[in-house]
Amino acid sequence: MRILLLTFFLFSSLFSDTLESLLHEYETTTKNSLQTIDEKMGHVYLYSKKDIQLMQYNKLSDILKELPLFTLNKNRFGVDNPSIAGSKTTTSGFFRFFINDHEISSVYTKSPFLAWGDIPLDFIDHIEIYYGESSFSLGGDSGVYFIRLYTKTPTKENGAELTSRISSSNSSSNGFTYASQLGNDWSYLAYFNNSNLKDDSTYKNKKLYNDSDRRYFYLDVQNDTTNINFGYADVKKDNFMGLSKDVVPNSGELTSKDYFLSVTKYFLRDKSIKGSLSIGRQERKYSETNDEEISLVPFAFSSYQDITEVYEDLEFTKLNAYLSKTFEYKNNNILAALSVEDKKYKVKNRTIVNANTLINVGQFNDFDEEKVSSFLLQDDYRIKDDLLLIGNVKFDQYKRSGFLSDSNSKLYRVGAIYTPYANFGLKSFYTRTTVPQLFSSIDFALPTNKNLKEQKYNFYTIEGVFTTEKSKLNLTYDHVEIEDFVYAASVGFINVDHKITTDGLIIDYEYNFSKDDKLKLNYYITSLSEIANNSKSGGYAKYMGKYNKFTYFTSLNYKSSFEYKGVHASNAFDFSLGTTYNISKNLSLSLKGENLLDKSTQSINVDAITKQYFTSKDYDRNVSLTLKWVF
């Protein structure tokens, strides 16, 4: 009887829809971008293709600046840098960024922002942000937050798109995407972009330059079992505050050329074996001249106390190999994988001018290569239909050149996903992981103690979800304990000598008025055992929708005020709104106003001459106009 009813239901629903309405539903469902979510990797925030279009997220930083538990600050080189609530971090070892299967984070700083931070999202399909240790599935270096960008699928684009953007700050960006399904089973997507970004500001009535010229190229060639990705990013920019003691350098420039090739292949009929190989290379040059001297941490206690010029030409290479096998045994889903990573850091040239004398200083230290071998095992065991237990172990072996000793790490995680009702679920993880030292943190460590230890993280998280037909409410709580936290003190990076604890609560609510009209509310608050030098709470309210030929959005991002060393940073209220007019199916015009109240988040910096702390705005008010033509 049940089967009869089910069959009747299926066939009646099939024939009640017209082919046209089914096509429309298929298109909108695809734009929800749910196909790659892996709930076992952590607590996930999804930015779907639909969200990216409706909210006019033009670049990665547009998304990162609103994420809960983060503040997207600007570092002294004028590069975006996400900081964990309450703490301003000048490097970001706990974040890892991927485009498809390739990690784009810099070998040197673990930050992708110099080369990829302003990457236009024209060729990105959707973005997943995992709060949790996902290297248990992905291999390689461990981390705490994993940001995964997925490029558009060539077969689903199958056309050309031209995007041209101008903004009130005189910035411009022009992009071209071409995707084609070939007559065999191969397809490809190519993306080119050229951007000129203007971002100047002032300090004590002197101009701080932060303009940049950027070029990007991305190629994705794929068939059912193989993905070949090639990426190139090229940036030439002003050095903003740079390393100048008086905050305003005479002149300075930062250039980076970053390229990689990544190949992923699935084997066996069920694609249960996955192998990937990637090579990456970054060439980075930095120059600065400043009459009021340059502060270089590695020489803080040396005889070089009158540095007025610095020049460096660095090269970083990375080789990754990953092999995994998934298999099922009774109610177990098991993933076993091996990953190997080899990172090299080469100083081609590093000179300083001290007391009008040119000195070739070369390497700051002899730690210039790191090999990471990992073995990982994940088992998700379905106890019953609504209860999944997850267990992970990962063994990392770090082999390092130079003075920094080799190390082994044993990491583990246990978790559970419980969905007793269709509209209620719980997810929880207990994780023990580490965050390894970086080439940059060792270079800029306190000169008298460069032997930094890895950071040890111990965290417990729990997420509850309640849904109704139109709404979804998420509550996520985390308790984090960190030992040997690497902190950027004024004399260089140091390991904090005591345990740091932090607790956080995120409340996230979504209400869907219809398929195309959505309201999202978010609020988070954290506590920190240390003196905070960044915002500790925040949230957002955003509304996006569609009416006839128009799509529109409005949002208000809030980050709380804070005080540090007598300096007050006021509340940040980033109010933005925008609309897109779809002139035809293939042509659209978008207008977007960002940070209209001109109350952005602020970064704490220090003037080494006056020893005074001060705040600087992370971004300005901006209005942009975008033309998109599909052909």
Binding site: L10, L14, F15, D17, T18, L19, E20, L22, L23, E25, Y26, E27, T29, T30, L34, Q35, I37, E39, K152, T155, K156, E157, N158, G159, E161, Q181, L182, G183, N184, D185, D224, R269, D270, L388, I417, T419, Y421, A422, N423, F424, G425, K427, V465, F466, T467, T468, E469, K470, S471, K472, E510, N512, K585, N586, V630, F631
Partner: protein
Amino acid sequence: MKIIILILSILSFAFSSQYTFLIKEYDKEIDLEAKIVAKIAKSSIKDEVRLFIPNISSMEKKVYSKYFTLGDSCKSSNFIFVKKADDSIKSCPKKDKLFFTNNYRKLLSDKKFYGAFFWNKSRPNIVFIRKRLDINHIKLPESYAQFVESFNEK
């Protein structure tokens, strides 16, 4: 207590359309694809449709079997949906069978296909070639006219 749990269960099934956690393999897209192909196949063939998809994945098999009887081979089926290249199709007799593809270029270059379901300019599309519909004696519903294209084929 049992009554409360029962009420909660009924309420949760009745009112929940948002997902909580996606712990099962996500199949909504494949499901809609299968629905669309089923609609096309059932409008093109008067008899019972026996579908064959070369190199079918286990998830496709699970989803498509909700709407079709699946054939074991090309020979034993009357509707062939080619999503991936497969040499066995080349030797499969064309008589009493309809061939459908997900690749517009394949549709244009290979006359055995009478239609295609594919993406173009980021939107899903369906195209049937009029002459090939006539050759296969297929009379589609009038609402399908927007999907039929005429090409000058010899």
